[in-house]
């Protein structure tokens, strides 16, 4: 095999210009795919991280049916003490869960004593919330980077519309699940930057204040947001949790809870899928480039060397070895293109990283692009290029191996 590879490489060197041109084409394809994957991957990861780490969490648990009516924030679908205990027990059985935050979500009226408008609020335990969504404090663009009892974090757009500032006093009025209305004064503790996705424009108060506003005697939770220790374990944690909680049934033998990953909760998931689809399309283009260029060059190689094929066949070279010799040429071309492409691709990604390129996404500005290429990407791209190179060489190689030596020797 090594001897055939040596001959194959010599034949590639023999047609230097053609080899370099073909290898360059593959190189450009590999570089393009690598850089595109690095940039789109970086953008996707950054956005996912922004969404999950600043308000959504990686996984959320609700009472069955809550998500489909999430727009109305129904207090009647909150989890009560027993249900909360069950969920906490389930969470304790999933080691991949790093932190969790219980939230009471409700809608109410927001008044600055001059004007009144609607508001959506989350009552949370500040420490647990920050552990679960660690980027949350970064969303507080003005005021204290925390949630304090008696204070409210007002969404940026609401604050602008209602012309409220830090330390202003406002009133939140809400109807509890029994239908009675209650109000409570809050000091504006901070202004919260808006985020893309459900709950991205909600205000925040301490959970004790929420209980007071809603006149709840005992705790009732609308949702439990979870953080996974490693994002790669998302599916593992989700499946474990779902298996445990799916066994919790009500009197009608129907599940009590529903578990969702961020993908089911955020519209950004569709953008992420679109990015994945684009990456896949780019990979298909790379496959096409490699397939066409290698096949073209190998067909030419066979056509130009018909007499040589006749000679080696006459000498006694078995058809299988002739086939291998040509396949190895395509394989070597693929390796060369993939190797140079990976080196240049990784270099381009490195240059992009040190260039600190920033971009805006929605209301989020100045996001720093930090493209990364992981070893798996390099391995997958290289393997794809090499396999496609071999496949592209097969037809011309097969033709060479099936050539009648007598006809090949007569070829002029």
């Amino acid at each position: 095999m090594f001897n055939l590879l040596r001959i194959a490489i010599r034949n590639l060197i023999r047609y230097k210009r053609r080899t370099l041109l073909t290898a360059s084409l593959i190189t450009i394809g590999v570089v393009f795919v690598l850089v595109f994957m690095a940039i789109s991957g970086s953008f996707k990861n950054m956005m996912v991280s922004q969404i999950t780490d600043s308000f959504l969490g990686h996984i959320q648990i609700h009472k069955k049916g809550y998500v489909s009516s999430i727009d109305t924030l129904p207090l009647t679908m909150n989890m009560e003490t027993q249900a909360i205990k069950k969920v906490k027990k389930a969470i304790s059985n999933v080691p991949e869960i790093e932190a969790y935050s219980m939230r009471i979500k409700f809608g109410g009226m927001f008044s600055n004593f001059v004007e009144t408008t609607n508001v959506r609020l989350n009552g949370v335990y500040p420490k647990e919330e920050i552990k679960t969504v660690p980027l949350f404090p970064e969303r507080i663009i003005k005021g204290k980077k925390n949630i304090v009892k008696g204070e409210i974090l007002v969404p940026e757009l609401l604050a602008k519309g209602m012309k409220v500032k830090i330390d202003d006093i406002i009133v939140v009025i809400a109807t509890n699940k029994d239908g009675s209305v209650n109000g409570k004064q809050f000091k504006v503790g901070g202004i919260l930057e808006s985020a893309t996705g459900p709950g991205g424009r909600d205000g925040y108060i301490h959970i004790d204040d929420a209980l007071e506003v809603l006149r709840m005697n005992e705790i009732q939770i609308s949702e439990i947001a979870l953080r996974i220790n490693d994002f790669a374990n998302l599916d593992v944690a989700y499946n474990k949790l779902r298996n445990i909680l799916s066994k919790e049934l009500n009197e009608e033998s129907k599940p009590i809870f529903e578990v969702h990953t961020w993908e089911k909760l955020s519209p950004f998931y569709n953008i992420a899928r679109m990015i994945d689809a684009m990456t896949f399309s780019i990979r298909l283009m790379l496959i096409a480039i490699v397939l066409i260029s290698i096949m073209n060059v190998m067909i030419m190689a066979v056509y130009e060397r018909i007499r040589e094929i006749g000679t080696i066949a006459a000498i006694g070279t078995l058809p299988g070895k002739i086939l291998t010799m040509f396949v190895l040429e395509g394989f070597s071309l693929g390796i060369l293109g993939a190797l140079i492409g990976n080196v240049i691709g990784v270099s381009v990604v490195y240059i992009l990283n040190i260039s600190n390129i920033t971009f805006d996404f929605g209301r989020q500005t100045g996001l720093v692009l930090s493209p990364t290429v992981n070893f798996t990407d390099i391995l997958v791209i290289s393997t794809t290029v090499i396999i496609v190179s071999i496949l592209a060489s097969l037809q011309p190689a097969f033709k060479a191996s099936r050539m009648e030596p007598i006809k090949a020797l007569r070829h002029v």
Binding site: R14, E308, T311, I312, A314, I315, G316, L318, P319, L409
Partner: protein, 234 residues
């Protein structure tokens, strides 16, 4: 035992509605360690006959035994195997592989066809390089040596597997007078040293004059056999 036995050997080519009888019922025998020449005008069937003996083509009718093996019905792979073990080829255009050096060209059949161990390979290649006087040129590529030198390399390549038979189709056609003589003498020397039979097809009187037995072909038929001693059979 004869090295080659042909009985009523025929070869027809069909081109559209035209049938061409390239060989018409040839019968002959060739002994081991002989120096045989097939002569005749263009289109007489010399190359066709060599192709059949070399298992590059199959006869339409008749039988052909080479080295005790009926080669008239060999499949592609079996034919390649048989050629690799038993037959060496020398071509009019030398047909050296341009990407291999002189040494590597001679080594090729041992390396790729016969998988001979390195030590033995090296010994045989160097010995043949010495015999054909190309030892000093062993690291050159075919485009760096002359036509005569190329044919010497081709002879060495044909003999490196110790074949029982070497087939040479117009081996001196592309060589000048002096070089052609030198190549013929090398082939004769190799025949004497290795006991390999050399069978040529040629127009070249220099080659014809050196052959032990000369078969004359005309229109696909053997018309004459003449031995070097002067015996002629029509």
């Amino acid at each position: 035992m004869s090295l080659i036995v042909a009985e009523n050997l025929s070869k027809q080519y069909i081109s559209g509605e035209i049938t061409i009888d390239a060989l018409k019922g040839l019968s002959f025998e060739i002994e081991p360690a002989s120096f045989i020449s097939f002569v005749g005008p263009s289109g007489s069937g010399k190359t066709t006959l060599l192709n059949l003996i070399g298992c590059l083509d199959v006869p339409t009718a008749g039988t052909l035994m080479v080295s005790g093996m009926d080669v008239s019905q060999l499949g592609r792979k079996s034919a390649a195997n048989f050629r690799g073990k038993n037959i060496g080829f020398i071509f009019q255009d030398f047909n050296l592989l341009p990407v291999l050096t002189v040494y590597e060209n001679i080594e090729y059949p041992l390396l790729v066809v016969q998988n001979t161990p390195l030590k033995e390979r090296r010994k045989r290649v160097l010995s043949l390089l010495d015999s054909v006087g190309m030892l000093e040129q062993k690291d050159k590529y075919p485009d760096q040596i002359s036509g005569g030198q190329k044919q010497r390399v081709a002879i060495a390549r044909a003999l490196v597997t110790n074949p029982k038979l070497v087939l040479a189709d117009e081996p001196t056609a592309n060589l000048d007078h002096k070089t052609a003589y030198m190549v013929i003498n090398i082939m004769k020397k190799m025949k004497d040293e290795s006991g390999t039979s050399f069978v040529f097809s040629t127009h070249d009187q220099k080659v014809v004059g050196e052959a032990e037995i000369i078969y004359t072909l005309e229109d696909g038929e053997l018309t004459e056999r003449s031995d070097k001693g002067g015996d002629r059979h029509v």
